[in-house]
C-alpha cells in the first residue's frame, strides 16, 4: 500500500503541500522529563514525527571491554518502531538504523564532558514512534534535552534541523514526501556556542552555491530549534518553582550552596 504522490509539492506562490512557506519549519512540541525510570528523557513532535529519547548514565559499563580509560563511552541506539512508517518495518535493526545510530552518537559526543566520568557508559536511546522525514534531526534535538535532563554536564545543547531542495526551490525542514521526491536533503546538527557543526550529511545534488545556501538555511533552523529546546527546559522547572512559590506565598528566595 504505497502513498500516491501529489501532482506538485510546491505551488506557484512557493507554498508547500502542508501550507508552509519555503523557510518555515514544521510545528514543534517538546516535553522534557516524561519517563519515570530513565535518568533523563525528552519527547518531541515535529510535524508528524513523534520521537522519544532517553538517557541512562553515567553508569557502570557492560561489557567491560567497551570501557574507555579516560572518558565515558557514549552508546547510542536509534530505532524505529515497526508501526512508525507506512509499510510495517521489521523490528530488527536495519543498516540505515545502524548508520544513524553512529552519526547521531558522533553528533552528540562533542557536547558532553565525557572526560569527567572515565570507565562509565552513557546510554542513549532514541525511539521513533512515528516518522515523517527528518527523524535523525528531531531525534538529536530530543536526545540533547534528555542528556540535559539527566544532569550530565555539557558544553552546549545540540540543535538539529535539515534543509534541502524541492522542485527547484531551497526549503527548510523537508518532510518525508519532500525528501523522497526532492532533489536534495541535508540534515545538520549544531552547537550554537562553539559555532560547531557536529552532524552533516547530504544526499541529492546541489551546486556549490546552492550548497552554501542550504547549509545556511539549516543553521538558521538549528538556531530556532535551540530556542525551543531552552524553553522546554525552562518550562519543566519554572512551572514547578512557581507552583511551590505560590503555595507558600513566598516571594523571596534564598541563596543556596550545594555539595
Amino acid at each position: 500500500m504505497s502513498q500516491k504522490k501529489p501532482e506538485k509539492l510546491i505551488d506557484e506562490n512557493d507554498i508547500r503541500q502542508d501550507g508552509r512557506k519555503l523557510n518555515e519549519m514544521r510545528q514543534v512540541k517538546i516535553e522534557v522529563g516524561i519517563l519515570g525510570n530513565a535518568d533523563g528523557s525528552a519527547y518531541i513532535e515535529q510535524g508528524k514525527n513523534k520521537i522519544l529519547a532517553a538517557v541512562y548514565g553515567p553508569r557502570e559499563i557492560h561489557p567491560k571491554h567497551q570501557a574507555l580509560p579516560d572518558r565515558a563511552a557514549l552508546r547510542c541506539r536509534y530505532h524505529m518502531a515497526p508501526f512508525s512508517v507506512q509499510e510495517r518495518k521489521s523490528p530488527a535493526p536495519s543498516r540505515r538504523e545502524l548508520e544513524l545510530s553512529k552519526v547521531i552518537r558522533e553528533s552528540l559526543e562533542p557536547s558532553i564532558f565525557t572526560e569527567y566520568y572515565p570507565r562509565t557508559a552513557i546510554d542513549l536511546f532514541i525511539e521513533v514512534l512515528q516518522a515523517d522525514g527528518g527523524t535523525r534531526c528531531a531525534g538529536i534535538t530530543a536526545a540533547s534535552l534528555a542528556l540535559a535532563d539527566a544532569g550530565i554536564p555539557m558544553r552546549d545543547l545540540v540543535s538539529a534541523c535539515s534543509a534541502g531542495k524541492v522542485e527547484g526551490r531551497l526549503a527548510l525542514d523537508l518532510n518525508d514526501m519532500e525528501d523522497k521526491a526532492g532533489e536534495a536533503d541535508l540534515p545538520l546538527a549544531y552547537m550554537p556556542n562553539l559555532n560547531a557543526v557536529t552532524l552533516l550529511q547530504m544526499d541529492g545534488m546541489l551546486t556549490g552555491e546552492e550548497f552554501e545556501q542550504v547549509v545556511n538555511m539549516a543553521l538558521e533552523g538549528c538556531k530556532q530549534i535551540n530556542q525551543l529546546q531552552k524553553e522546554a527546559l525552562r518550562a519543566k522547572y519554572v512551572v514547578a518553582k512557581e507552583a511551590e512559590a505560590e503555595k507558600e506565598g513566598e516571594v523571596e528566595e534564598e541563596e543556596e550552596e550545594a555539595e
Binding site: S2, R95, R96, L98, E99, S101, K102, V103, E106, E109, P110, K180, L186, M191, L194, N195, A196, V197, T198, L199, L200, Q201, M202, D203, G204, M205, L206, T207, G208, F211, E212, V215, N216, L219
Partner: protein, 265 residues
C-alpha cells in the same frame, strides 16, 4: 603483531606539524598519496578494480543478477553496495557480521553513486514491476592505512566503468542471452574526497596515523559537473561552517583530477 595505535609522542608530532601546514610524510594539506588503479583482475566478476591509495588497498567486484525492482521504482534496476572490512586488512578488524564502520562505508560509497545517478538504472529494466537487473557492488578492504572511503569509492567507480553485461533480449518475459558484451550503462562518475580536521586545520586524504589524531572527518562526493552529491561527517569532533565551505571548494577541484584516473576522455 604491532599495535597500530601511534605512540602519544608521535601523535603530538603529527598534530604540531599540521598546525604549521606540514604533514609527516611531506605532503601538502591538499595532496593525495600515490594512487594505483588496476581493473578487470577478477574474471568471474562482471567488473572489478583494485585501488591502492598509499598503502590502503581496496578491491571491488561487481556482479549483475536478475531480481525484483523496488516498489516505488518499478522500471528501474537496483543498486546495492556492501562493504567488508576483511580481518586480514587490519589488526583492528574482527571477523563477524558487518559492524557500524563497514555499514557506514558501504552506505557512503552507495550514496555518491546513487545520488549522482551514475548508473542508468532505467536501462536495466527487463519487465516493469517484475524483473530488473540488480547491480551488486562488493567492497573488499584488503589493507587499512587510512581513508577507506575515498579508496573504496574510487575502486567502486573503476569497477563500474570496467563492468560488462552480456547482451540479451527479452522474449515472452524471459531473458535470452545473446553473444557479446556491452558496458554497464553509465552517465556520471562521482568521486569522493575526504578531509580530516587536525588542530583546526583541514587536510585531504588522511593516512592511518593522521586518522588516529584527527578530531573529525568530512567526506564530499562530487559528480562530473561539479555538483555535490553526497556528504558525510564522521568522528567525534566538529567543523565550523567556514571549514565546511572551504572543504566543498577544495573537493570540487580535487575531484576533477581524480576522475581523470578512472575515466579516460
Amino acid at each position: 603483531m604491532s599495535s597500530i595505535m601511534a605512540a602519544k609522542v608521535r601523535q603530538k608530532r603529527i598534530a604540531q606539524l599540521i598546525a604549521r601546514g606540514k604533514r609527516l610524510d611531506g605532503r601538502e594539506p591538499t595532496d593525495y598519496r600515490e594512487i594505483q588503479i588496476e581493473s578487470g583482475l577478477i574474471e568471474r566478476a562482471e567488473g572489478s578494480a583494485r585501488v591502492r591509495l598509499g598503502k590502503t588497498e581496496v578491491l571491488v567486484g561487481t556482479k549483475i543478477e536478475v531480481g525484483e525492482p523496488f516498489l516505488d521504482t518499478p522500471n528501474e534496476g537496483v543498486l546495492t553496495v556492501n562493504a567488508e572490512l576483511v580481518p586480514l586488512a587490519s589488526p583492528t578488524f574482527e571477523p563477524g557480521p558487518p559492524d557500524e564502520n563497514s555499514i557506514e562505508l558501504a552506505r557512503v560509497v552507495d550514496r555518491g553513486i546513487r545520488e549522482s545517478k551514475a548508473i542508468v538504472l532505467e536501462d536495466l529494466c527487463v519487465e516493469p514491476g517484475k524483473k530488473v537487473f540488480v547491480v551488486f557492488i562488493d567492497v573488499y578492504v584488503l589493507n587499512h592505512d587510512g581513508n577507506l572511503i575515498d579508496t573504496s569509492a574510487l575502486a567502486a567507480l573503476a569497477a563500474l566503468v570496467n563492468t560488462k553485461m552480456f547482451n540479451y533480449e527479452v522474449k515472452e518475459g524471459e531473458i535470452k542471452i545473446k553473444p557479446g558484451y556491452k558496458p554497464l550503462p553509465m552517465r556520471n562518475y562521482p568521486i569522493a574526497v575526504t578531509f580530516a580536521k587536525i588542530n583546526d586545520k583541514l587536510i585531504v586524504d588522511p593516512w592511518l596515523e593522521e586518522e588516529q589524531v584527527m578530531d573529525a572527518r568530512l567526506t564530499m562526493a562530487v559528480e562530473k559537473d561539479g555538483k555535490i552529491c553526497a556528504i558525510q561527517k564522521g568522528g567525534y569532533g566538529y567543523f565550523t561552517a567556514q571549514q565546511i565551505f572551504e572543504a566543498s571548494k577544495i573537493a570540487q577541484q580535487k575531484t576533477v583530477e581524480l576522475r581523470k584516473l578512472v575515466v579516460k576522455e
